[in-house]
Symmetry: C2
């Protein structure tokens, strides 16, 4: 008796996911639920991120391995922002039938190449795939759930920044947005040419866009060394994520444009508003001894946290032309529709 098609695909994913283990995962794929056994001194953090074809990536631009990598990286980056280590991942997939079937002239179906990218990052970060769900869907959608562990009471919150704290970022900003712009430009003529072009494949900006690196070691170091008061990851863009931080901490902030660590080939606009850099943005008390690098990644002071005032903008950008209000202009869901002229 042949197994139903769903079981076959689940068994395929399960066989491929069998490698990764974590000490707190007691039972992975195959039952109604996975079972986690947390350590007594730790608490668990949970995050979910939804990726939808045509919104978060394009099937005609992004290689399946990149879509898989980016799906997991989004969730891991949220763990990094809390200072947590990965315990388990859960992946729900809405899959068009043609992505599950082998394509002509290819050895692997789209979904297998997606899993290649997903599981390579899972292996590299010791993140076991412990469950999920599958459904046929006219549109590709992937919801990633990440569970992490962090010492009790030490998770880095968005809500704990205080006036007087200094603002820092890891790494460089704007590379992912610059990489996406590059991809869009080349794809304008021929998307396949864009991705097979040798110069493009070697471009650091494109690589940052296609294969971002969640800052897990850096987030964990911030917790271990008690360096930061608050943190989040830059997924929507510095301006929008800083607005999140100000909103949750009920503070204001100023950023010095001249201090921003621009990625090579990125513009100030891309560094301020471009999303998907997956660097960490954190606040630290002025007496915190924040080092210049953490686990091999540069850390840069970019501004400070201020008291909120009714008559002052929540965010200010210091420029050579003087201070100006900084608006959140990064990624927004449900942004107001522009009124069309009649």
């Amino acid at each position: 008796m042949p197994l139903p098609a769903e079981l076959e695909l689940i068994d395929r994913i399960r066989a491929r996911a069998a490698g990764a283990r974590s000490r707190n995962l007691r039972l992975g794929i195959g039952d109604d639920c996975a079972i986690l056994r947390p350590a007594a001194a730790e608490e668990l953090v949970v995050t979910t991120d939804l990726s939808i074809a045509g919104r978060h990536f394009r099937l005609d631009w992004h290689p399946p391995e990149s879509v898989g990598h980016r799906t997991l990286a989004r969730g891991l980056s949220d763990l990094a922002a809390m200072g947590a280590r990965p315990v388990a991942a859960f992946l729900s997939l809405g899959l068009p039938r043609e992505l599950v079937q082998k394509q002509k002239g290819r050895n692997a179906a789209w979904i297998d190449r997606f899993l290649d990218g997903f599981l390579a990052l899972a292996d590299a970060t010791a993140t076991p795939l412990a469950g999920g769900d599958l459904a046929e869907s006219p549109l590709f959608a992937a919801d990633i759930v990440l569970i992490g562990a962090v010492r009790r009471g030490r998770a880095l919150l968005r809500s704990a920044a205080r006036p007087g704290d200094l603002l820092y970022v890891t790494g460089a900003l704007g590379a992912a947005a610059a990489g996406l712009a590059l991809l869009a430009e080349e794809a304008g003529t021929s998307p396949q040419a864009a991705l097979s072009s040798r110069e493009l494949v070697g471009d650091a900006r494109l690589r940052r866009h296609l294969y971002p690196e969640p800052r897990l070691a850096q987030g964990q170091a911030l917790v271990r060394r008690r360096l930061a008061s608050a943190a989040l990851d830059i997924s929507d863009g510095l301006s929008t994520d800083l607005a999140h931080l100000c909103h949750e901490s009920r503070v204001a902030a100023e950023v010095d444009a001249g201090m921003l660590p621009l990625a090579p080939g990125a513009t100030l606009r891309q560094a301020l508003h471009g999303g998907e850099d997956y660097e960490l943005l954190f606040a630290a008390p002025p007496d915190s001894k924040v080092p210049r690098t953490i686990a091999g990644v540069v850390v840069t002071r970019i501004g400070r946290i201020l008291r909120r005032h009714a008559r002052r903008p929540q965010m200010t950008l210091l420029t050579a032309q003087g201070p100006q209000p900084l608006q959140p202009r990064g990624w927004q869901h449900f942004a107001p529709v522009k009124k069309e002229k009649r």
Copy 2:
């Protein structure tokens, strides 16, 4: 400065979700992650379920309150099948813009009525909504993540049924499938008429389809009283879910057609293969003192677990005409495409 539209919707959901609490949830919506603090004597179970418009429900058939209820019920039913109590829910939504906007002549947007149904069940089951994600999407998709807690080592697994165990189900079978058939029939003429028809609204089968009741108290009682060896919930249909149990436990099973507790107005076919009853299917050793009702719900013995044999079907249905192979004919994702005649 107005908040970005995404923050506004998140704040709306957060305000509505603020009521529910659970003792193990330290931090809910608003940060990169939620924070859970499990009790030392417990382990956590995690499940995800993806619902897609047009696959799991129809926007033109199902009231938004039912879609919200069913989304959460699917996840809660997986907790029930492990014998766990709810700790937190996470909801990722891919939302068409028109579902977020108020409709003409209505006081609430579709999404608000969806949340009505979702949060009513969350309240009734003490399940706090602790996080999630939102994205605009041409297609409605909801991924529900449920985290539950159960005493260490006591979760009910699919893989622990043994030859000689007896098979039981809670409640009655086939009602949800009968309700769906009823809905489809009425909707054939006018879907709106179907749902506003007084007889239909009062129909127990339709109610079971639109507002299924996850068997949380029953699952927890099976664990507390150590009654069952293995369990899962009947979400795909008895035949398909029993195939899952046999597959994971490496056993065979026989079901006595005459013993099946058919819901009033449901056919044998609907009881065997109709999905979404969300009753529990469990195995118990022959000396287990399984009561006739658990927490007000009838429990019925329907068959037994057998040793697996290469030359015997994995599942057998005992009928008045003698034994016959039982095929998994419930809900399947990626079922083989039927070849069309040319």
